[in-house]
């Protein structure tokens, strides 16, 4: 799983049926010191995350489909948690 920050919302009315009622958020993956890293991606929101919140993302289809509650959904990323705090021993991080 990776850490990301919610940067926006996406509206799509014409989409695959299994996305019905799913909330789609734009998430920018960030490093441990909160710097953007890598391409922003779309994730299904499973926990009601809001804009700017730091979130925990799962980047795998089966897990993401579980969050969406629909087996076999064509989805590959989902927000599974809202991060309150991260503490890291700076000596251990490159």
């Amino acid at each position: 799983m990776i850490i990301g920050r919610v940067i926006g919302t996406v509206v799509s009315t014409h989409k695959h049926a299994k996305f019905e009622g799913a909330k789609l958020l734009l998430v920018q993956p960030v490093t441990l010191d909160d710097q953007p890293k890598g391409p922003a991606l779309l994730a299904v929101d499973g926990v009601g995350a809001g804009i700017y919140e730091k979130v925990l993302l799962v980047i795998e289809g089966r897990a993401a489909a579980e969050i969406l509650g629909r087996k076999g959904a064509p989805v590959d990323a989902a927000i599974v948690g809202i991060i309150d705090a991260i503490d890291v021993d700076p000596a251990l991080v490159a």
Binding site: G8, V11, S12, K15, L24, Q28, P39, A40, L42, P74
Partner: protein
């Protein structure tokens, strides 16, 4: 999933039979500010998207799920057409 622009389509007549009757679109992934990002790719279309439209696509085996039970050999599939998105 990732945002992308549909920039074209691909026609192939000699192909795996599971790809028959599947539309192949050329996608240019884009960043949230709309600028192009990374290489173009070919994706199967499960949302009825047209050239020029902005879409979102899924990567991996999940891209073949919309065509179940046909085992479409693909690793990317358009699953939604984006009306608009808002950035903070």
């Amino acid at each position: 999933m990732q945002l992308a622009r549909v920039v074209g389509n691909v026609v192939t007549t000699r192909k795996d039979e599971n790809l028959a009757a599947v539309t192949l679109l050329i996608l240019q992934p884009i960043a949230p500010d709309g600028t192009d990002m990374g290489r173009t790719l070919v994706a199967v279309d499960a949302a009825g998207a047209g050239v020029g439209e902005r879409v979102f696509f899924v990567r991996g085996k999940e891209a073949s799920f919309p065509f179940h039970p046909v085992e479409v050999p693909t690793d990317a599939g358009v699953v939604g057409i984006v009306d608009h998105w808002s950035l903070t």
